[in-house]
């Protein structure tokens, strides 16, 4: 079974249809780009998949669990990082790691082990006891990603993870995403940067609540006769 499966997934707010019968599947270990203009329904769709919102219709399975009835199981098996920075600034790096590990039910021994490994990978051993507020933004972002996958989820949802980060750090951040995907983690990522869309295995583009296109970046560019994802996106977003 694929890690994410949706069939005619719909969300209505009153008479407004935020997500209109979207159907797609994400393969294991895939980096799936979820694109769309602001207000196209990306966030709503993502919130339904994370168990934060109850769908109005259709079906969805995440990590093999039904998002209607098994939200607890869904939540245990996913990692999540939002566009807004998601660590506590007044806690130290280690305290943040311990907290997030703790609420996902990891034992202290496991957390200690993972903490030292993680800090080593990020080359932040010296900063372990510093408050997160004292770290540069790029570091925080990388740390937040590491914390989001601390409990070894099979799927990680990234909601515009690189907003406001410089290009070098963005590149490093994507290296981390690739590394996670290589370990078999499925990555579901929304972004506004079209160059980042090129890094994805497949991308879907949402327009007004519907998925208008879904394929590999290369195939999409051929289909829309353009050399950049930017071109694809603009044609879809404007061409109504």
């Amino acid at each position: 079974m694929n890690p994410i499966i949706t069939r005619s997934l719909t969300k209505k707010f009153g008479s407004f249809i935020a997500t209109n019968a979207i159907t797609f599947e994400v393969m294991p270990g895939e980096i799936f780009g979820f694109l769309g203009a602001n207000g196209a329904g990306k966030t709503t769709a993502m919130r339904m998949l994370c168990g934060l919102l109850k769908p109005s219709g259709g079906e969805a399975f995440v990590a093999g669990y039904d998002v209607y009835t098994q939200t607890e199981k869904v939540k245990k098996n996913i990692g999540y990082m939002s566009q807004r920075f998601s660590l506590y600034e007044d806690l130290t790096v280690k305290e943040n790691i311990r907290f997030y590990g703790g609420i996902y039910g990891l034992r202290s021994g496991q957390i200690k082990e993972k903490t030292s490994k993680l800090l080593q990978q990020l080359q932040m051993e010296k900063e372990g006891d510093q408050l997160v507020s004292s770290l540069p933004l790029g570091w925080k972002q990388k740390l937040a990603f590491s914390v989001a996958v601390l409990h070894d989820p099979s799927i990680v949802f990234l909601d515009e993870p690189t907003g406001g980060v410089d290009p070098v750090t963005r590149r490093q951040f994507w290296d981390m995403i690739y590394a996670a995907a290589d370990r078999g983690v499925t990555v579901f990522v929304t972004t506004h940067y079209m160059d980042e869309a090129e890094y994805c295995n497949r991308v879907s583009i949402m327009v007004d609540g519907r998925i208008e296109a879904l394929d590999t970046p290369a195939a999409l560019k051929t289909m829309y006769h353009t050399s950049t994802m930017d071109g694809v996106f603009l044609q879809l977003a404007r061409g109504k």
Binding site: F85, D90, E95
Partner: protein, 368 residues
């Protein structure tokens, strides 16, 4: 359970790292109690008065002596004539003046009537009224004492006893009031701020995506504040009884249990506020304007409910603080037991459930 413990520990980190808030939390009750206890008092002690005694006989001198002996008044100056009165008030030195016309004793015993004039500075009407009442009472007593010697046959003697607070100490009023205010502030305002802070920072989303059940997130957030508020209640009680001699005539256990109940009421209000606001700023404003102001004005803490116009007096019934102040006073001053304060207790418990119910409903609406 372990997850919950992890969560509460994180909350304590937030609280202890935020020195300024911590200072407010624990400094405020101390400062408020001292302010209300010592500075803001409506008791009169040694109010300065001027005496214009035109008879200067044995009886008039004793009358003046009576006023000063009460401790409420102190003679600031003796005046010689009427013209000096105005000047004395203008100088702002005196609050009241007593004018005793000539032949005071003679008038009293032979003409059966001796006028005395009291003048008070009504620029501050409350003080003026209190001073006049005290002075009238003292003069009345003096008159009866003189009458006793003359053995008048018929008269009505009113013996006044002030129950539960014989010395009429205003601190007996302020300790319950301040306690209510502080508990409300710590519990309602702090929780609404701490919950909206998670929303504002975006960490609330992360928490909701985690396997922690929503009620555990909320409970974990308010748990430390239950503890802090309770410590504050203890500090205020200790200061009230230790420094100001406030009695606790009823059961201390019942008193503390009622404190916990009120803390829960205030917390549920805080949670309710946090479900309808999304930033710390609005949460703070909502707590301040929506809770603190009405509480100060309508709980009977400063302005007696009895003297409010009917619609306002009815409105006071929806103030949780009003009921808590009633409970506090009954237990501390009258030694009331649970069977005496069951009604306000029930009201508070009902309010708590009501607020929690609405919060849960709001929360569900947001999720679907």
């Amino acid at each position: 359970m372990r997850q919950f413990f992890v969560f509460v520990r994180k909350e304590f980190y937030h609280i202890f790292r935020d020195r300024r808030t911590l200072l407010i939390l624990f400094g405020m009750p101390v400062v408020q109690i001292i302010l209300f206890g010592f500075a803001i008092t409506n008791e009169i002690k040694g109010a300065r008065i001027a005496v214009l005694d035109q008879s200067r006989d044995y009886y008039s001198t004793r009358l003046t002596g009576r006023l000063t002996a009460s401790g409420y008044f102190a003679v600031d100056q003796y005046l010689q004539n009427n013209h000096e009165l105005e000047a004395a008030f203008r100088a702002g030195q005196i609050k009241m003046a007593i004018v005793i016309p000539g032949n005071f004793g003679e008038n009293f015993f032979h003409h059966r009537s001796a006028p005395v004039q009291l003048l008070a500075d009504a620029g501050d009407p409350n003080t003026a009224t209190t001073l006049l009442n005290y002075a009238t009472a003292i003069i009345g007593n003096y008159q009866q004492e003189l009458n006793d010697q003359m053995k008048l046959p018929l008269r009505i003697n009113a013996t006044v006893t002030m129950l539960y607070n014989p010395a009429q100490k205003s601190v007996f009023m302020f300790v319950p009031g301040v306690m209510t205010l502080i508990l409300l502030l710590v519990s309602a305002m702090m929780t609404s701020i701490t919950i909206t802070r998670e929303k504002e920072l975006g960490t609330m989303e992360i928490l909701l995506v985690s396997p922690l059940p929503p009620f555990m997130i909320i409970f974990g957030k308010v748990m430390p504040y239950i503890l802090l508020a309770f410590i504050n209640a203890l500090v205020i009680l200790a200061m009230g009884t230790g420094i100001f001699g406030m009695p606790v005539k009823g059961s201390l256990v019942l008193l503390l249990a009622e404190c916990v109940l009120f803390v829960l009421t205030a917390l549920s209000l805080g949670i309710l506020i946090s479900t309808v606001t999304s930033t710390q700023q609005t949460a703070m404003m909502a707590s301040m304007m929506g809770l603190m102001m009405p509480t100060v004005l309508l709980s009977g803490f400063i302005f007696p409910v009895e003297s409010m116009p009917r619609p306002l007096a009815l409105l006071t019934n929806i103030m949780p603080a009003k009921w808590f102040i009633i409970i506090l006073k009954d237990i501390m001053l009258k030694g009331a037991g649970l069977k005496d304060v069951w009604l306000p207790t029930l009201v508070l418990a009902g309010m708590t459930l009501f607020f929690l119910g609405i919060s849960i409903r709001n929360f569900k609406i947001r999720l679907s």
